[in-house]
Symmetry: C2
């Protein structure tokens, strides 16, 4: 397998975590988003959307969209399962993951912040307000949703799909200085994720292409 990756991409970070949890290794190719390599001809031939991550399977299939890639990895290597349980339990795990991946993350990625700044000419304070508003609204919903079943991880005693999606969102929230006090469950789980080897090894600040600063 070959993973097209960028250290600071939240979506690529999710896939790195899933690979580590599964004990799978992928060859790595780095696409420098700040330099615009995702819009270069060679990468667009692979993924016309110009987004990382992309995963090329051993059979040569090109997979895109991080949650789809992670479900592929979960089918390829079922243990440890990222979606354990019966159909309703699996739906709950997917729903927690999608609360982050559909309702929080899409509002705060690089292309959106660029549009707010360049196309709408918003002030930096308005852009910061936008980011913190959507993360705070999403984390409040997630905190409530986690309540009934959270253990050391989002659901129970082992990391599952929502934990894989949560760690990069918490990393992003910290970068944007979002106040985490109102979310004790998320903070507790995030501390456990920080300490977990598979998550630590996937961290944006410890990748081969990591750059410090902006």
């Amino acid at each position: 397998m070959r993973l097209y990756d960028y250290f600071r991409s939240s979506a690529a970070y999710r896939v790195r975590i899933a690979l580590n949890l599964k004990g799978l290794t992928a060859e790595r190719a780095f696409v420098h988003l700040r330099k615009g390599e995702q819009r270069g001809e060679s990468f667009l031939a692979l993924n016309p959307q110009g987004f990382v991550p992309a995963l090329v399977t051993d059979e040569g299939a090109i997979l895109t969209q991080s949650m789809a890639i992670i479900e592929y990895l979960d089918e390829l290597q079922p243990r440890p399962s990222l979606l354990p349980g019966d159909a309703a339990q699996r739906a709950r795990l997917r729903a927690l993951a999608q609360l982050i991946a559909c309702d929080i993350h899409p509002l705060n990625n690089l292309r959106i912040l660029k549009y707010l700044k360049q196309d709408l000419a918003l002030e930096q304070a308005q852009i910061d307000g936008w980011v913190t508003h959507w993360i705070a609204e999403g984390f409040a919903a997630l905190e409530a949703a986690l309540g009934p079943t959270a253990g050391p991880f989002c659901v129970g005693n082992n990391p599952t799909l929502p934990d894989v999606i949560l760690a990069p969102q918490v990393f992003s929230a910290r970068r944007f200085n979002v106040e985490m006090k109102p979310y004790p469950t998320i903070r507790r789980i995030a501390a456990n994720l920080d300490a977990h080897e598979a998550f630590a090894a996937a961290h944006p600040m410890s990748q081969p292409d990591t750059e410090v600063g902006n």
Copy 2:
């Protein structure tokens, strides 16, 4: 099963389509989003996020997030499959669905448009520009991604998960008067979806709670 529904919610519309494709019926409860019923105590007790759809299963599990609900329905009633094929083919179907559900839809729903208008005090022309920008960018990516495998439907001869997600997005694009000429593949598929009984029966304009106008 009981579906908490609102005729114009794109996410609820997806679940209605999936139920119809599976030949499943659910009792319906209507949550009037324009009147703010999603923020009422009784609905928040069910889904603290205050979003429709929610599905209460026959065993009493409360499911949220439309794609998670649809995968639940696909596991509950495997035929006809919304995710046919091997792991890589399933990943491709999920990726096409997520291109819409993660990269287009979240940017244009009601709470975002409200924030642009009320919190950022943008002009209506800027808000319209925002909506058409993200739908156009997303549809361009989808058109390119569909190219290799589109048949009468997104992938092959039968509706699958991406078709379930596409129909509501096309409905939304038409409402916002997005120019559809640049997307011949999407237009062709959308015409087939319009003509398909399961999709037509789920259409926002033909539900028990449908209201005409805004």
